[in-house]
Amino acid sequence: MSCCSPELPEVPTEIPDVEGPLPTTKRGLGDLSLTRREFSKHTAIVASFLSAAACSTDSMDGFVKSRLREMDRNELKDLISSLERKYKKRFNKDVQVRATPAAEGVRFAYALDLSRCVGCRRCVHACVKENNQSRPNPDGDHNNPIQWIRVLEMNKEEGVDLAHATPYYNPEEVPREGKFYMPVQCQQCENPPCTKVCPVQATWKEPDGIVVVDYEWCIGCRYCMVACPYGARRFNWAEPYLPADQVNPNMHVMGNRPRLKGVVEKCTFCIQRSRNGRYPACVEICPVGARKFGNLLDPKSEIRSVLENKRVFILKEDLNTQPRFFYFYGI
C-alpha cells in the first residue's frame, strides 16, 4: 500500500570532493539538506498519513481492487457492503447486492419457442428494467440505450436467415403477416469463444453455466464482442445513465449492479433472480409464454421436456460454441 520506494540499503550519498570543503556531519537548525535515506523515510511517513486522511474506505476499495474471481468470502463481504453503501448514497435508497454462488447440481438452460414468439419486445424492455442497463440520456449526447435482447424479424418463406433479418421493425401490430420473430441474446455457451479471448480474464463461465463479467477488471478492449458469434455483448461507450427512480435495488455482484463507462456487459440469465430460484425477467414478462428456463440436470424441468419432445435447434451449431440456449418449435 505504501507508495514510496522500498527501503534501500545505505549507500554513500556524500561523495568526497577533494576540491570542495569537507562535508560536515553536524547540521544547523535551518539546514534542510537530507540524506537520501532520510528523505525516503520521511516521505513514507508523510504519504501514509496523507493517504489515510484523504481516502475514505470506499474509494480505497477501488484502489486496492482485486479480481472478483479470486476473492474469498470475507473480501466479497467487504466489497458487497462497500457497494451497497456507494449505491445507497448514489440512488438515495436501500440497495441489496448479493453474491449468491452457483448451486450444486444446477446447469441453467433456456429454450425459446419460435412458433409462439410474436415479436412484441416485452422481453427487451423488461430486461432493461430488471438489469439496470443504461437508459437513453435526455440531456446528454447519449441516446442509445443498452439492450441485451435483440428481436429479429424474418420472413417465414426464407426461414432462419440472419443476413436478411431486421431488429428495427415497428408496425402497429405484431405479428406481421408472413413474418416470424427470433429473439437473440447471450447463448451462455458451454464452449464460449468470448471468454477465451479476454486478455485479462475478466469474463468467464460460472459452474452453473452463466457467463459473467467482472466489471471492475474489464479493460474495455472489446475483444469478447468481436469473438461472440451472436452479437450478444454490449459496450458502455458513454457514462451509463441510470435515473434513481428506475434502479432495480435487487442486485448481484456479477449481474445487474450499475456498470461503469468503458466496460462490456451481457445477459446473465438474470443471475440475481435465477441463483435465488426465480425465473429470469424475460421469461416472466413474455405474454405468449414462449420462453422456458430451468435446470438442465433436472429430468422433470421444462427444459428437459422441450429437449426430449420438441424440434430443437441451436444457433450457428457449426461453430461448436454449444449454446445452452435452445430454439424450438412448440407446434
Binding site: 419486445r121 437513453p136 440505450p145 415497428n170 405474454p287 409464454g289 433436472d298 421436456s305 419432445n309 412448440g330
Partner: protein
C-alpha cells in the same frame, strides 16, 4: 467317459445360469438405485411434481378416459383465479332456475350479446361446456362437472397435445420459481374460450437505428 462327464458338467452350468437369470428377471433387480433416490429428492424439492401422490378418488362408473387417468386430470395445478369479472359471478345469481333451461341451440339476442362464438361454432354452443343445471360449473364430455379453476381439463378434451405440453410447462406461461413453487396460467387467461385466437399486440419501441445514434 471323460467326454460324457464334461458334457454333464456343462449341462449343469447352463441350467444354473438360466435359473439365476430368470430369478433376476422375476425379482426385478433395480439396475439404478442411485437414480431412484435422486428422483425422490427431486420430488421432495418440487411440490408441483410431487403432488402426483395425493390423488383424489377415481370418478366411479365412467369408462376409462385417458384424460381422467390419475396422472392427467386428477393432478391439480396451482392456477390463479379464472378471468371472470365480479359482476358476472356467480352465474347462478341470474341462472337460478335450472328447470326453465331452454336447451335449444340458438344465437343469444337478449343476454351475453357481447359473446360471439368463434370456436368451432358450427359444431358447438354454450351448453357443450357450461352445465345446464348448475351454471357455476363446467362439464366435460363425459358429463363430469368441474369448477372453472379446472377448465384446462375441458380444453384438454380436444386440445390434448397442448394440454400435455401445458402440464409439463412447455405450452403456456409459468411464473415464480424454476426450482420450486410455480404459478400457472389457465388456458383462458391467454385464449378467450369463445374466441381463442391470440390477439395481435402493439410492439414496444424498437432499438435505435445506427443512423439515429448521437
Amino acid at each position: 467317459m471323460d467326454a460324457r462327464f464334461l458334457r454333464i458338467i456343462m449341462q449343469f452350468a447352463l441350467a444354473f445360469g438360466l435359473a439365476a437369470f430368470s430369478i433376476a428377471l422375476t425379482t426385478g433387480c433395480d439396475p439404478a438405485p442411485a437414480k431412484a433416490s435422486h428422483k425422490a429428492a427431486v420430488d421432495e424439492a418440487d411440490p408441483v411434481h410431487a403432488d402426483k401422490a395425493n390423488l383424489p378418488p377415481a370418478e366411479l362408473g365412467l369408462p376409462p378416459n385417458p384424460l381422467n387417468m390419475p396422472n392427467a386430470a386428477s393432478q391439480t395445478f396451482p392456477v390463479p383465479k379464472p378471468p371472470i369479472s365480479n359482476e358476472m359471478w356467480p352465474c347462478s345469481s341470474c341462472h337460478d332456475s335450472p328447470e326453465e333451461v331452454n336447451r335449444t341451440r340458438r344465437v343469444l339476442k337478449e343476454e351475453h350479446t357481447n359473446i360471439v362464438l368463434h370456436h368451432d361454432e358450427e359444431n358447438r354452443w354454450c351448453l357443450d361446456c357450461h352445465d345446464a343445471t348448475n351454471r357455476d360449473v363446467l362439464h366435460l364430455a363425459s358429463g363430469v362437472t368441474i369448477t372453472f379453476d379446472e377448465s384446462y381439463r375441458l380444453c384438454g378434451q380436444c386440445h390434448g397435445d397442448k394440454y400435455r405440453d401445458w402440464k409439463v410447462g412447455v405450452h403456456g406461461k409459468r411464473t415464480g420459481s424454476w426450482s420450486g413453487e410455480k404459478q400457472y396460467l389457465l388456458c383462458v387467461h391467454c385464449h378467450s374460450p369463445h374466441s381463442p385466437h391470440f390477439k395481435p399486440l402493439k410492439p414496444e419501441a424498437p432499438p435505435v437505428h445506427p443512423d439515429q445514434i448521437r
